[in-house]
Symmetry: C3
Subunit: 479 residues, 3 copies
């Protein structure tokens, strides 16, 4: 009883005489608005204009349930359920990338990396809905870029080159699956430019990549563009998603330069260990299951091929994990956990282009080779090219994305010359686009890299005013 | 060989002469049993009485597989698979809430929060099975509360107002999906009362909320009660799940009062930073994918609407993440990670009521407004109402749950007056019930808040006798 | 503009004059290769020989989509989608075990545990593909061991005792589901031998367990061997998966002996607290949802039983969580988080054998009893048997696996004598196999336990040359 009274008194005491202070608090809002954000106003005007077109949106649910379940309808619902589940798995990969990248970086930059991964997915969703999906799949364009049906405003599947449901997929689930892929490309960039890029520079670049560049190169293959007519095969995106992310990241990382302390006076690379191997490992395992949406979902239908693709995908990931671990063990004398992780991811990236067409042993071999490649590629970027990539994204997604696309020509019945043309043209365009985009952003923002003092103290304080692990004592002497 | 011998000796040495000490150890059990737990005995008797009725349980698997696959059967299996998968996603939200809430609190209270989240789900499952599901959906009651078929003892779907499988869902999967929702309501409470509530007070309240209060208000809408007859629309529970949890939390947080040190001498709110932004972000991303079971699963069937709902849900979450981030950026000058997280969750909560009926742009706008609302609501609770909510649950689930329910009247074809009546009646009942429940518990346990010294040292030591991060040096000077 | 120039200069300066150093760096590779790894060469030769047989692999996608969707085809696709999803959930359990085990151990051994969990899944996948699946399900063997179709080389389902798709499951998804189970058995071992076993000893043992021992005992029941003919029932593997893992772990933990510091001079057990309860709790919740693939997926078809099984599974897990928490509370005076976690897992393990055949109340009771058992079992191993099991794996998977298998005879219509024979024969074989395997490995590697100094410093530095949480200050005085 006395406890109840005491509680009451405490509540009343706190609430007294403080309500007035709130007006002053809210009055101080808006005082530190970065001026360049007002650039958003004309952009918003453009978006609102397009939005107006979207107001004639399709009937929400779109499709009537038939009186009797015919074969097409059943297949259509099977497709819908499966691709929706696959989309969930691919979207879950955002959590995988966030944990992997944060874990591989230092604790003083963790908030920054986590923030980037969250906002980039949210922005990618909005941008891909507004125009990215139309640039990629809209049938109102040409062989270079698609157009039409912005903001998912069209209820006609033909606007996006889709067969009508129930023979094909509902527009909604097609969009959901594709937007998850688009966000992946941007997330790959996040890792390679981590621990030194300005937050605003990164999110502007991501918008441009997801909204414009990725849809254009994706259009060339997955929307019946010139590369698909040539015969280039990239089933689930070793090149179209993974190496695109890596090329964009390569340009960014090269322009940014290495993190402070990464190279000593003689230019020798120094290891900068990640701060949380537990969440990095969790990230790897989340990505592993996410890939079971990524690759089998790319069949875009529920049929018996999906489980075949799931097995080739798993075999390649496993083989990459084994060879990555043992290669690092032989090379450095210790089984390095980060190479087990990168080996698994390398195998998964490698099999992505040909997972539907390779025999099991071809998939396992593709993954095994990717697991070896990634170990040497990490050393190559680190010590030869001197490009600082904190999480190994260039090696995993770039080198192994290219390897996997070529492997379709070796184990999957593809034409290796066509594969090479696809890799080179998509890579060339992405490098060019990224170069222009990074420099344009640098021009607008006055550089894309944080100040030295901020980098020393960590981007969490500098960019976000908070730390990731409050209440723990940190070792500030560590690099 | 010598190594083998050494191993052997070590094992044998340890095992010698110690087996006797065990009897004494086990003899000291039961010595510190909190006396009030013996109150469980009459409760157990009641449960066993009802259990007896349950012994006439339905045939485990219930339904025969037909000789030929007719249309109803196929649709029934499609429904079963989809809703089972959706249930898994919603149950996974427990992990999301656990990581989010733990991450946003201090490390000295992490074990307590994790424990609460685990036990509340386990208890919710048992209570909802025993009576909650019957109170909510049992057709043996009236417009206020349901009854009948306790302990899932009835094999007749009509007992729970269900269409028979295969036209409808199996009873089992209906229960599974609904119990996951019920547990969510209790989990929301957990966050707002964190870092100062007694463990036993919380779990008793959760039992009452999940077992009695939530089923009653849920019955009014989702089981054909008076609100559904009125025309109130809450498709997946912005009000029925989220704001119910928030109202119960509001009463609890107000009675508890703020954490020690939350307000200074002049009553100004002080920030108490969370201890682990990595797991908080992970929690947000788990919740995001969980919502793809929560909302599309609420269609309670596998049809083409599920992917439409998935897209509205994602657009709202993304839009909320974007506006939450930028609102905080403009307001405070920094893009605050916790506001990116809360913005995403706000958007998801907001779209929950109308995700099936809104056009895409309406869903995006609902989410965008929720993302702005949540930033100001957090400040409002913190600085104006002086209600201390460590994780922002009242703003995310309460304010945005209400907003989302009203938004059905704006963008989703609902009647805004009916929406308001639903919000007010469900909120009013929950506040009344919670007020009585919290005070009754406080009376029985002699208060619901831990002692000051315990709060200072952390609830992990005081309530659980363990710490979350053994082996790390903590900064005891932090708040 | 000046920022751009500065960036450029920095990049160019770093890249200069350092490209030559790379040859020397790569030249020093291979210098610390552990000599016994060359034993891999003859093994590789054997594998390549079998591989040659695999080159005649089946057509990748295997099955034609029929012109019209007949009933068998629809059921086949439903099965494929559902079992693929279930496989994803079971594979996700690797993340659950990794987080659980790492969290329950000390931070100085976290990298080692995470590494083990990653590599064991990758190796299990390769070994089970190469020969494990054939030893378990190949119809070319006898009642003791299967054979035929190594490397999934056969396109004929009868090779693996499978009904042809669409009446049954595609070979690919059968393999995927089964390999996930096989890996679970090895992962269970990982926890019990943690913090003192050599990395290479563990992975060799895992290969033997997953590739040979587990398939043999699994063959006896799940592939129509002598135990299934006898009438032994183990629906989803309380014995075949969980107790097998625990028996193998028991032998390993007994041979290894306890961790340094686990027992004081008088032989009294000392608590060695885990380092990260947040990820341990996350692991528990991941395992919980993984079990919704594990048990309902074991129906091996998409029918109405799957949701029934999902509910029995959930009720048992919940009941185990409740009784585990309260038993520990009564026993020790505090609700111990690790006992909430182990109670949930105990309930889930317990219901695994009979989840398809028990009434709801029987499942709940099975789980409730498992939750009580596990608390006392942990104390029993710790203080009576003096077997040091850092994560409680022997209690959760062994004791409760046995209990659950017997419970089929009590609540699930099974014959308790047959159940006992199954438990004893499978346990006996596994113990014998493990004993031989551990000693053989110890002989080859010169012991299976790390040196004392390495154990003191932590296996992360000793075995992997890295630490899990760089940048945090650790408390080296903690045990």
């Amino acid at each position: 009883m006395t406890a109840k009274l005491a509680l009451h008194k405490r509540v009343r005491r706190r609430a007294r005489s403080q309500a007035v202070s709130v007006v002053g608090k809210f009055g101080s809002l808006l005082k530190r608005v970065p001026i360049y954000w007002f650039a958003a106003i004309p952009l918003a005007a453009v978006i609102l204009g397009i939005w107006d077109l979207a107001a004639t949106a399709a009937d929400p649910q779109g499709i009537e349930i038939p009186e009797t379940l015919d074969a097409d309808y059943v297949q259509g619902i099977l497709n819908t359920v499966w691709i929706l589940v696959a989309s969930v798995l691919v979207i879950f990969m955002n959590a995988g990338f966030a944990m992997l990248e944060a874990g591989f970086c230092r604790q003083k930059n963790a908030v920054n990396i986590l923030s980037k991964n969250l906002i980039v997915f949210a922005l990618a969703m909005v941008a891909y809905w507004a125009f990215g999906f139309s640039f990629m799949y809209g049938t109102g364009g040409n062989g270079f870029i698609g157009a039409g049906g912005f903001f998912l405003s069209s209820g006609d599947p033909a606007t996006y080159g889709l067969d009508p449901f129930p023979a094909g997929l509902p527009i909604s689930v097609s969009f959901l699956f594709q937007v998850a892929f688009a966000a992946t490309a941007a997330t790959i960039v996040s890792g390679a430019v981590a621990e030194r890029i300005k937050y605003d520079a990164f999110i502007i670049f991501s918008l441009l990549l997801v909204g414009i560049s990725y849809p254009i190169t994706g259009h060339w293959t997955w929307a019946g563009g010139w590369l698909s007519e040539l015969g280039f095969t990239d089933f689930a995106g070793s090149t179209i998603v993974h190496s695109v992310g890596a090329w964009a990241a390569l340009v960014g990382a090269a322009i940014l330069g290495p993190r402070l302390g990464k190279y000593d006076e003689e230019g020798n690379a120094r290891a900068i260990p990640g701060h949380n191997m537990s969440i990095a490992t969790l990230g790897c395992l989340i990505l592993w299951i996410g890939w079971m949406g990524f690759n089998p979902g790319s069949q875009l239908a529920a049929d018996s091929a999906i489980s075949y693709i799931a097995v080739t995908t798993n075999l390649a990931g496993a083989a990459g994990g084994v060879t990555g671990t043992f290669t690092a063990w032989i090379k450095d004398g210790k089984p390095d956990l980060s190479m087990s992780i990168n080996g698994i991811l390398a195998g998964l990236v490698g099999v992505t282009a040909g997972c539907h067409a390779m025999p099991y042993w071809g998939a396992a071999l593709t993954g095994a080779i990717a697991g070896i490649l990634v170990v040497f590629a990490v050393g190559f970027f680190d010590s030869v090219l001197k490009i600082d990539d904190p999480v190994g994204a260039l090696s995993v997604h770039g080198v192994c994305g290219i390897w996997g696309t070529l492997a379709v020509g070796i184990f999957g019945g593809g034409n290796i010359v066509h594969q090479f043309i696809g890799i080179a043209s998509i890579g060339g365009f992405t490098v060019l686009f990224s170069f222009i985009a990074w420099y344009a952003i640098s021009f607008v923002l006055g550089g894309i890299r944080v100040h030295e003092e901020e980098e020393m103290k960590g981007l969490d304080i500098g960019e976000h005013g908070m730390e990731a692990y409050s209440g723990f004592v940190k070792d500030t002497a560590s690099p």
